[in-house]
Amino acid sequence: MTAARDAITAEVLRAAFALAAEEAGIVVVRAAHSTFIQEGADACAAVLDTTGQLVAQSAATTLMHGASLRATLPALLADIPLELMEPGDVYVTNDPYRGGIHANDLLVFRPVFANDEPRWFAGTLVHVADVGGVAAAGLAALATDVFAEGLLLPPVSLVRRGEPVEEVWRILGRNSRSPERVLGDVRALVAGVNVMAARIEELVDRYGATAVRAEIDADIDYVATRMRDELRRLARGRYEGTFAIESDGVDPERTFEVRVAVEVGDGDVTVDFDGTSAQARGSINSSPSQTLSAVVYAVRCFVDPTIPMNEGCFRHVAVRVPRGCLVNPDPPAACGGRIVTMCAAIEAIIAALSEARPDRAVAASALIHVYALAGSGEGAPPWLTLGYEFGGVGARNGADGPDATGPYVLGGRSVITQVEPFEAALPVLVREYRLRADSGGAGTFRGGLGVETAIEVLSDATLTSRGDRIAMPPPGSRGGAQGEPGRSSVRRPDGREEVLDARAAGVVLRAGDRFVLRTSGGGGFGPPRQRDPASVLADVVEGRCTRAHAEEVYGVVLDEAGTAIDDDATRMLRETPS
C-alpha cells in the first residue's frame, strides 16, 4: 500500500468514525421522550476501544460526556468480561462511583465485533426522564446520599444477542414515575448504539480491522499533537485559581471552594485540586470522571476549541484529586448536582489559565437554573416537566458577554423550549419572558444579562427549583463588577411575593400561583468607568441598562431624550472620584 493511500484512508476513516458517533447522537436525541434531551441534547454518543480509549464522539451533543463513557467502560469490563460478550449484546449502568454521572444519566454500551472478537464499543448516554429517587426527574436537590437520587444500576444486560432482557426493562419501568418515557429513552439509547455498531462494522468490512485500528491510533496521535502544540503556547509556570460555591442546598452555614493549581510544562499541563473543600452532604459532589471532564473541557476550550475530541485530548493533561473532597468524594455522597462543582472547577481553571494568556481572559458566567413542576391536583391527570433558563455569560477581554445563554459544559445543544408548545402540552401559562435590565455585571466589557420568566400554573403543582451563583453571583474580573444575582419567588394571586431559596424543593403551588424565575447576570471585565460611553448609550437604547444605572455605575450622562451622550456632564461625572 502506498503512502498516499494510507494518508487518504486515514482521512476517510477519521471522518467516518466521527460521523458514526454523530449519527448515533442524533438518533438518541430525536427518539428520546424527554423534552430535556430533545431541546438540551443532554446526551452523548461515542466510539471507544476495548482498552477504554475514546476514539470519536458526537459533537452535536454535550462534549463533556465523552469522559463519562470513557471512565465507565472499565467498570463494565470488570463485571462482564469481554470473553462473555456476544454480538448483539447491550449493557447499561449509571453508578457514579464507577465512572458514571448520577442516577438519571444512563450509560449504554454495545460491543462491536470484528473477526468474532469484540474490538470496540459503541456507547450512548442520556439524561432520562425519571428513575425514582426522592424527587422527580433527577432533581433531588436535597438528597444527602446517592441512594436518594434514584435507582442505581451496576453494569447489567439490556439486550442479550439481540433479545431484550425483559426483567431489566421491567425494573427500570417500575422504578420510574413516568415509566413509558423512561423506557422510550432507553429504547433511544439502544437504537443509538445499534446504528453506531452497524457503521463501524461497515468500515471494518471495507478496510479491514487492522487498517481501522492503525488509523484510529494515528488519529489519536494527531489530536494529541495538536493539543501539545497549543499547550506550548502558554507561558510555563504555576498558576492558581479558586472559585466559590455558595451552597450545597443542605448545610446552610457552609460554603465551598474549588481550588486549582495549574502547572504548565513543556506541552503538558497538570491540574491539582489540592485545597478544594471536603465533600458536601448535599448533591454537588463531582465524581472523578466528571472532574476529569471539566478539566479537559476547560483546557481544550481555552487553548483551541476546534481540536477534535478523542483520547488525544487527555494525553497531555494530568489531574490530581485528593480523596474525600468535592471533586473526588467517598461514597455514598450524592452527585446529582455535580454540575455546580464542575462549573466552579472550569471557572477556576480558566482564571488560572487567563494568567498564562491574559488576552484570552474571561469573567465568570451565571449557571443554568433548573426547575421541575409536577401536577399535584386531586383527580387531575398527572403531569411533569423539567425546564431550565440560562443566565448571563461573563465578559471577555475585548467583548461583552452574551445574554442568557448556556455557559460551558451546559451548552450541549442549549436551546430552550418555546412558550407555545410548552403551554399546549401542560397546564401552564407563561406570563412574562424578558431580559433583566442592569443585571449584567458592569465593566469595561459588560457581563451578559439574566432573564426573568413568570410561569403561572393552571392546576395545583409541586415545584422544585435549583439555581446557583445567586448568594454569590458570578464575580467580575480585573475591576469588573459581579453580575446581578438571580432570585426566584412565588407570586400569589393576591400579589404576595415569597422569595424562594436558591435550592428549594416541595414548594406547593395552587392554581393561579406564579413561579417567577430570575437568573443572574454574568461578571464584568475591567473598570466600568472605562467603558466606551457609546456602548453605554447603546445599552440604554436597547434596554439592557437603565439611565440611572448608566450614570451611577458607568458615569455616563445622557441628554433629555435619552438618545445621545451629554459629553460635558459625562466628563465631569467620570472625573469625580466615585
Partner: protein, 716 residues
Amino acid sequence: MSKCFLGVDVGGTFTDVVLATTEGDVHTHKVVTTAGDPLAAVTRGVQELLAATGRHADEVTRLVHGTTLATNIVLERRGCRVALVTTEGFGDLLRLGREARVEDDRYDLFFSVPDPPVERRLTFEAPERVKFDGSVLRALTPDAARTVAARVAAESPDAVAVCLLHSYAQPAHEHLLGAALRDALPSSFVTVSSDVWPELREYDRAMTTTLCAYVGPVMAAYLHRFQAAVRALGVPCAVEVMDSSGGVMPASRAAVVPVATIESGGAAGVLAAALTGRWLHEDRVVSFDMGGTTAKTGVVRAGRPDVTYDFQVGGRGSFGSRRVGSGLPVKLPVVDLAEVGAGGGSIAWVDRGGAVRVGPRSAGSSPGPACYGWGGTDATVTDADLVLGYLAADRLGRPSTAPSAPDPDGIAPRFAPSPGGVDLQIDLAAKALEQSVAEPLGIDVATAAGLVHEVVNVNMAAAIRVVTVQRGIDPREFTFVGFGGAGPVHVARLAQMFGVRRVAVPWAAGVGSALGLLATDMIVERARTCVMDLTAVAARMIEDLFTTLERDACIALGVGEGGERLVERSADLRWAGQSHQLTVPLPRSTFDAAQLAALPGELARAYRAAYGVDGTGDAQFVTARVRVTRSVSKITVPPRGRPAAPSWPEPATVRDVWFADDGGFRPVPVHHWRALRPGDQLTGPALVEGPDTTIVVPPGFTASVDQWRTVVLETG
C-alpha cells in the same frame, strides 16, 4: 407563433439564462452578475440569448426567476427598518432567541450572538393574551390596537411585523392590529404572522414574519423593477419566481411572502437533478451541485425534492440547514439542502497537527485558483484536480461575453453551451501545492494533490450524509446527479464512497439550476396548527381546517372555483408529551371518521420508520398542511436520435490521470462530450470533457450516453 420559456437564475457570481422552446430546444447563456444592479446582467443575458437564438421577446410565454436576494439581505443584514408588535411581556422574544448556543459556539469562549433584524426600541407590546386553544384570556380592544399602532407610527418604520402568542389558533387580535397599523402607516409594509404561516412555536413564527417584513419592501421593489425591465425588452408575460420548496409562484405573491424565496436558487438546482432523473426514469436522486465556493446537496424522492420546515437562514453545522439555534428560523417549507464550503476555489492548508484541510476559505474568482495565473498562490481544489489530470492543462470553459449559437450539429444535441475559456497552468498549480501542502508534509506533489482531492470529497460526503443517512435515507438506492463546474469531476468518487452504483451528469451541467426553474409547476403550501387530542375531536372539524387552507392556497395561486388543481393533504401528529411531531400524508378524499380512526396507526408507522423504535401514548393532531399545485407548461426535452446500438468511440486524446485506488497515474482516454452520440459506451478510467466541466469516469465504472446526451456512469 412559436412559444418559448425563459429561466433566469441570478447567483452571486454568474447569472444563468436558459431558453427552452416548445419544440424541445434548450439554449443556455452565462453572464457575470452585476452586483450593484443585478437587472443589468439580467437584461443583457436575456437580450443576448434571444438575439443569438433568433427569438422575439413576445414569444416568451413564461419567465421564471431564481434569486438569492432574500438570503443575501438577511445574511448581510441590509433589510429595511422594521418594527415588531408582540404580546405584552414578550418584547424580548427575538433577542432571547432560544437562549441558543449551539455547534462550535458552545466551546468558543469568545463567541458572539448576531443581533436580530429588529431594534429593541422598535419592538412593541400589545395588551392582549390568547391561549393555545384559541380562547381569549385578555381581549385586545380596538382602542388599544389604535394606541399601539400610533406608537409604532411615531417611529415611522418601513415595515411592521405582528406576531402574537397563539395567533395560529385565534388570529383576530393580529388582524385587528394589522388593520390599525395599515391605517396609521398607509405606505409601510405590514404583515401578520397568522397570514404568513400560522403554525405553533412563537419564536420561529415571529422570526419568519419579521424576516418577511425585513425583506419585503426591498423584494417588492426589486420584483417590480424586474418585471418592468423584462417588459421593456418586450417580454409580455408576468414574471414568476421560484420559491424555496420547489414550486413556482407569481411574483405578486413573492412580494407578499418574500421569505418564501429564501432558498430559491438551491431549490432550482435540486429540481434540475429531478429533471435529469426523470429522463432516466429514475425518481430517486441525490443532487450534487459543486461550484466555485460551495457544494450543495439535496434529495429527490418520488420525483420530488425533500422539504424541511425547520430551515435556519445562515444555519450551519452537523445537521445542515436544520440546526436549530444556528441561524434565523424560517418556518415555511424549504428544500432540504446541506451546504459545505467546498468548491473548486476552496483553499487547501495543513493544520498544526499535520492534517490536510480544505476550505472553508475560497480563492473565489479573485485571485482565483493558482492555475488561473491571476496572481493566486494558495493551492485550491481546482489546482489539485488539474495536477491529477482530471482537468485539461489548456483550457477550462468559462462564461463568455457572447451567447452560444444554436447547435450546428444536426442530430441529438439541442443544448447549446457557451464557448470561451481560461488557460489552466499546471506549473502554477504544482508550485502552489508544493508550497502549501507537499513541503510541510514531506510528500510529493501528486500525493499532495490526491490528498486535497480526497479531503474535499470527505467534506462533501459529510453534506450528503446530512441529507441522507442522518434523515434515515439509504443513499445506495439513489442515483447521484452531478452538476456545477466542479460537480462532474467529483461526483463518481463520492458515489463510490457511499456504495452508490449510478451517477448521471446532464448536458448543460454548468447551468443546471436555471434549467430547474422551468421544470416545475406553480405550487402554494399552507399550514395551520390546531392542537387536539385525537380521542376528543370530530372528523368534521379537521375537514373544515383543510378546506379553509385549500381555499387560501387557491386564492394565492389564482385558481378560481372549480379551477384545475392538485390538492395534497398531510398532518403533523405526535404522541402526547413529545415535542417532536411527524408529518403523515392523508388521502385526498373528505376527512371522515375512518380517516380519523386511522391516524394513530399512521403515526405509529411513521414513528417506527423515523426512529427505528416504537412510540407509545395518546396521539395528538398538531398541524394541518395542504399543498396545492396548478399545472403549467414546463420544459420538455424529447429524446433525440434513435436509440442506437452500442458503439465504442475512439478517444480524442490520452493523458495521465491519477486515481485513489491506484495510488498513481496511468494513461487514460479523453473524450469530447460534443463528439459523443447516443449509444456510445466508455469503460473507466476515462474522461469526458464538456464545455464547462469534465466528467471523471473512475476505474470500475462504465459510462454511456443517452438520448438527452446525459452521461450515465454505472458500477457493479
